[in-house]
């Protein structure tokens, strides 16, 4: 097996395990919230209105997550009062300031138009 193919296999193994970092995982269309006791409740509460990527890219302190959760509950997120603190712990634990930087994916190359057409003032 060539070196290149070895690299591809390693990348595929990385993609196919649950231990991938957000940076490796971010090309996926359907970004998911990480495993944890609150994963399902967070998915139900948050992803009704927006996708997981909006959460996954944040790096916020517990105090800031608390404000965000309370704002979102006011805006219609369904969170049982008994789950509020655990949800904040889940979000700040996974998406706190100490987590590795999130790397956003790119969209595919446009197929229908000529790329890099230089527009001028004329």
């Amino acid at each position: 097996m060539s070196h290149r193919n070895s690299v591809i296999v390693l990348v595929l193994i990385a993609l196919n395990t649950s231990a991938v970092t957000p940076a490796q995982n971010s090309a996926k269309l359907n970004e998911e919230l990480p495993a944890g006791a609150l994963q399902q409740k967070a998915t139900t509460a948050c992803l009704e209105c927006h996708e997981a990527r909006i959460i996954v890219q944040q790096r916020l302190s517990k105090a800031v997550w608390s404000k965000e959760v309370d704002k979102m509950v006011k805006w219609g997120a369904v969170v049982d009062a008994n789950d509020r603190d655990a949800l904040i712990d889940y979000l700040s634990g996974n998406f706190g300031p100490g987590q590795p930087e999130y790397s956003a994916p790119r969209s595919a190359q446009e197929k229908t138009t000529v790329r890099r057409t230089r527009h001028t003032s004329k």
Binding site: L12, R53, L60, E110, T112, H119
Partner: protein, 389 residues
């Protein structure tokens, strides 16, 4: 490698299947080719979010004075309108007016057309660069683009309805589809800005009708101001006696009156609404972390200042010890960015390249941006590191 092909295909298929189940936009698909996301009409954009759609322009596209629509950043607060029929679309003008007026698209097209080349920047551009980080879309350098917007002047539309002397603010309501109990995206601008001859109800962008992502069939275009002022999918204009009261006027889109210690909270009464853009420049090339051969190296960038003019851009290649004037591009318009270049004969070594813009109001791009709890108006001196071999 068949197994690779099969695996990627199943990955892609699973993602698309999940997309259909979870109510993902039909136009978004994962592609097999590179793991990138297929978005028709968009070209290699940085995907900050698909639902709601938020796309960032990569800095390497800032080498063009007008940004092609496929490279123009997209900022949506909510879902785009599902059904938009140009034939059924109407724009109503009411509130503090002599006569409520309704325009169809053909009626709007009969008004004199005016064009403005405008650099549109999201107030939150650069939010992801503030420390400590603040909540919101984590834009880095590319929630900004420039296009020629065309359409009737807002002043001509308001004149038809006749603004009463009590009318002091102009409210825009778009057709964004509001999820849950989220407040609707409604904001207002002062009547003086609304009556400015360069404030438009734009129907065209770079000579073509607006695309859906950019507000088809009509959007406000408030030049030199934050993107949020330029309401997309416009359906209603209402003249008000006072500033609109709603989430996206307060606490949204407000900036502290005083310098804030990073991480501190700010009382709402100590803030003001964000309007005009800051002075700012961004390096579009060489890209951060790139390696180049020794010899002539050209630094490219672009600079803008909202309602003010760029008077100079300086480039430092020695980490800020000395600054050299960049050559400003000949393409210019009142509210548009200026491209700029600086070349030097680079010897081997590692370089910290920085750019710093100054505008006609004497504002200078600072070394550090003014941290604020919402992460607005980031404009620190831009910098990239390169290796010359």
């Amino acid at each position: 490698m068949d197994s690779r092909r099969t695996f990627l295909k199943s990955l892609s298929g699973a993602a698309v299947g999940a997309a259909a189940l979870a109510g993902w936009p039909a136009w978004a698909q994962a592609t097999e080719q590179s793991g990138s996301i297929d978005l028709p009409g968009e070209d290699r954009m940085i995907v900050r979010s698909l639902r709601f759609l938020d796309l960032e322009t990569p800095v390497e596209y800032f080498d063009s004075w007008l940004t092609p629509v496929s490279h123009f950043f997209v900022r949506n607060h909510m879902h785009e309108p599902v059904e938009l029929n140009a034939g059924d679309w109407r724009l109503t003008v009411g509130g503090e007016v002599d006569k409520t007026w309704t325009f169809s698209l053909p009626e709007l097209a009969k008004l004199p057309v005016h064009s403005v080349v405008n650099t549109l920047e999201c107030a939150g551009n650069g939010r992801g660069l503030y420390r400590p980080q603040v909540p919101g879309i984590q834009w880095q350098k590319g929630a900004v683009s420039t296009a020629r917007f065309s359409g009737p002047r807002l002043a001509d539309i308001l004149q038809r309805a006749g603004v009463k002397s009590s009318g002091k603010h102009v409210m825009f309501r778009g057709l964004d589809e509001v999820p849950g109990k989220v407040p609707p995206f409604i904001r207002s601008i002062p009547i003086e800005k609304a009556l400015d001859s360069d404030t438009l109800i734009a129907t065209h962008m770079n000579g073509a009708p607006l695309t859906k992502h950019h507000g088809f069939p009509a959007r406000a275009l408030v030049p030199g101001w934050i993107g949020a002022a330029s309401c997309k999918w416009l359906a209603e204009i209402k003249i008000l006696e006072s500033e609109f009261v709603g989430n996206f006027m307060s606490p949204g889109y407000r900036f502290p009156n005083q310098v804030v210690k990073p991480g501190d909270s700010v009382k709402p009464e100590d803030t003001h609404v964000v309007t005009g853009l800051n002075v700012k420049s961004v390096i579009s090339g060489p890209l951060d972390g790139s390696s180049l051969k020794s010899g002539k190296v050209t630094v490219q960038g672009t600079a803008w200042a909202g309602e003010a003019d760029i008077v100079k851009v300086e480039i430092s290649i020695d980490g800020g010890s000395t600054w050299n004037p960049a050559t400003l591009g000949h393409e210019r318009s009142r509210y548009a960015w200026r491209l700029c270049t600086f070349s030097w004969n680079a010897k081997r070594g590692d370089y910290l390249i920085q750019s710093r813009a100054t505008d006609s109001r004497g504002r200078v791009q600072p070394m550090e941006a003014a941290w604020n709890p919402s992460g607005y108006l980031y404009n620190a001196v831009d910098q990239v590191t390169i290796h010359v071999a």
